[in-house]
Symmetry: C2
Subunit: 134 residues, 2 copies
């Protein structure tokens, strides 16, 4: 899986890593149980500090996406995190704002929903393709 960091972005590097890894899991580029590069390896590959990678991994561990074995390294959990109440609450907050912004800018409900649907289908399709190839 290819990870790309935008060093001009306001978004912290560890947060960019976190998001790309979650997107990678959604696409099926990263499978449950799959091992991730070691913190040192990944840090060297993308030219950042190992502590930055470590932070991303640990956030993902706390969220329930990864398990980290002190000796083997990080791997994607066999069972992905569930949609807990805390998750629903934060999702609602985030979505409400995004929808408000879109609505103010004159984006129609249908157009917005179509986009969401398209993104969902992209992940579903991507996973399906990869599962067939195995």
């Amino acid at each position: 899986m290819i990870l790309k960091i935008d060093f001009e972005s306001e978004m912290p590097i560890y947060e960019q890593l976190r998001r790309q890894i979650i997107e990678g899991i959604a696409k099926g580029e990263l499978n449950t149980g799959e091992e991730l590069p070691s913190v040192r390896q990944l840090a060297e590959d993308i030219g950042i500090n190992l502590h930055t990678v470590n932070k991303a991994y640990n956030v993902l561990k706390d969220e329930g996406y990864l398990v980290i074995d002190r000796r083997k390294g990080a791997m994607v959990k066999d069972i992905l995190p569930e949609a807990t109440k805390e998750y629903y609450d934060s999702l609602e907050k985030e979505l409400k704002f995004i929808v408000a912004d879109a609505y103010c800018r004159g984006m129609g409900k249908d157009e917005f929903l179509k986009q969401c649907e398209r993104y969902f289908d992209e992940y579903i399709e991507s996973r399906r393709e990869r599962e067939n190839g195995r």
Copy 2:
């Protein structure tokens, strides 16, 4: 319009203000052309520094939501910002991640879309009610 700050939140105060004001516009609690409290007034009301309010106002000005008159203060723009290419790009990035996260957590496409639709309808309905009352 009531603004509530969560001082425990990781989200910066000015960002909380920014989001609530956009949501207020979406709901129709704030109408185009309507004046906002002065930076000093609002800062005092919610117990924060005037520069924090000023930052929120200026971010919203840069985004095209507000006009700020040096003597009269801030007011909601008569014409709200459009969905520019930059906006679409940032929306796509944001939405793709959110969808990925939801998908990984086992949230169904229909459930996700239903929520988005509900939020849209809330804003539409809220605006309609307020327009009828005027």
